[in-house]
Point group: C2
């Protein structure tokens, strides 16, 4: 069944039936706007748009993967402020020939991601279009937001988890090397990214001085943090935590990933948290957060090993630019 | 200059420079999420997506018109709850060949609309795509939200302003009848809709029992209000306030508008407020709000004159459905 056969009102009713029931005293779908409790502290607000063919390809992504990822990338933005995600609204652009099954999948994926991070999807909009596009906006609550601009000279630079997996997963899918069977963790990182919400909250409490999520690649996002803070860095490339799956993929298929370090530095969509914190003399800032110290904030230039960060940065993912 | 030549970071910097500076203690663009003061009361949240070719055509709309309208339709949703719009985020999908001038225009139109309704644009996202699409999400604050579901038998039904203008304006533009010169008020209603924010707040204070904005046409939106409230109506078609420009257009070009009443009942995008309120014996509920009593809430069927509302409703605008 195609969405054009169902019509807007029937599709909205179908979507609403797949979502949770509203909390007492709140209005979610079905009115002009959702009515929810205001955050007790400061309010965070973010939006991210995923477009078919650019941010996801339906050859690899199920509807549920698209729905999941559209929520995850927003929750990651809230996490990168040290906040807790609260409410989301979603706008869908659908081609006339889009199947109702696809829409069901998108909604189910959103719902599952919402439950994972304690977010509530409270409303949305549907329109047509030439692409499938999903635009989610999310609110969050935060007592002390951790900005990109707070890094100080002498702070240590850490990153949670490991890097390069999501971009390598996409490369493996595109290369058609039985990626799902042989490199499932990489595929999972591409299709079902995890927002580091618990880590973000814990790091904010622990005194992280600056934080950003690694969405466009470490080189690009590190440069953004440094620029916002007006500082430089000395990063040791040997300390950058490369995803183990990337190493395995590079060994098996060097034509897909020739340089694992480059994959970790330039590959986007890992949604790990890059943060700075007052020097802790090598100790992890928090036992409960798995993270790796990759360098130090300095007053001078931004360097990764012997090279300027800008040399790396120019090769990272830039939306809108022709390849 | 095309957006693909400029690149994402340069485009974002250009957009940010066109916007207002953040309020003290707040973070707007430039970080992972915006940080704003939480509403004192309950929080409203809504989103609306405008897609080129469906919701606007660049043959008629300047970038500034698109930007304005994308904000207005969201502010109208907040107004229809009796709330005050607060903060907005915008996601833009841009074709590679979109001009930077177009983007500048969209941002300027958003900024002007924000100033008109006291909203602050605090962030956004940019992606590519096959269409130009603008997705805005908006928060609002409200003490007592006016829902669609509160209409009671015996309440009177009112609508603010006049109806049919926006759809007739589009019809005139499409027919190429020197619409801008001869029917400027109709064209304005299509390109630059006004959200009835002041009216919504005043009507909530005055005790409106149910409210909805007329976005998809009176017949469709009235049916939504009645369905949510579980009631019927007796509407007098002679009382429906038809836009004077629609009457003039129908006289001059009956082939464009053959039936002004049908234009007022079925034409969408007027963004007037349709509301119910305890019977006031014909008096306007509020002197400061220009509105017209069009009928009464009843226990039985929904009728407009001698016809069932459903007969009308089926002809109103439905997104996604083939014409």
């Amino acid at each position: 069944v195609r969405v054009s056969e169902l019509g807007e009102d029937a599709l909205l009713a179908r979507i609403t039936a797949r979502l949770d029931d509203p909390a007492p005293g709140e209005v979610w779908t079905g009115d002009d706007a959702a009515v929810v409790a205001a955050p007790e502290e400061r309010c965070l607000l973010t939006t991210d748009l995923l477009v078919e063919g650019l941010d996801f390809e339906l050859a690899w992504f199920t509807g549920a993967d698209v729905g999941w990822k559209s929520l995850a990338v927003n929750a990651s933005d809230i996490a990168a402020m040290g906040g807790l995600p609260r409410h989301a609204v979603a706008a869908l652009a659908l081609r006339q020939d889009a199947s109702v099954d696809l829409v069901d999948g998108i909604v189910d994926g959103m719902r599952d991601a919402c439950r994972c991070w304690g977010v509530t999807l409270v409303g949305g909009d549907i329109s047509g279009g030439s692409d499938i596009a999903v635009s989610v906006a999310m609110t969050g609550a935060v007592a002390r937001p951790v900005l990109r601009s707070g890094a100080r000279v002498g702070d240590e630079i850490f990153v949670t988890g490991s890097l390069g997996g999501a971009a390598s997963g996409l490369a493996a899918l595109r290369a058609g090397v039985e990626a799902r069977a042989r490199f499932p963790t990489l595929v999972e990182r591409q299709l079902r990214p995890r927002a580091r919400v618990d880590a973000g909250v814990a790091l904010a409490r622990a005194g992280a001085t600056a934080m950003i999520d690694v969405s466009d690649g470490l080189a690009v996002d590190l440069a953004r943090l440094l620029e916002a803070s007006g500082v430089g860095c000395a990063v040791d490339p040997d300390e950058i935590p490369i995803d183990e799956g990337v190493m395995a993929l590079a060994r098996a298929y060097p034509e897909i990933v020739s340089d694992p370090l480059e994959a970790a530095l330039l590959g986007g969509e890992d949604y790990e948290l890059l943060f700075t914190i007052e020097a802790t003399e090598g100790r992890a800032p928090l036992e409960e957060v798995s993270c790796t110290r990759i360098g130090t904030i300095v007053a001078g230039a931004a360097r990764v090993g012997g090279r300027e960060l800008d040399e790396w940065r120019g090769r990272g993912w830039q939306h809108l630019q022709s390849p």
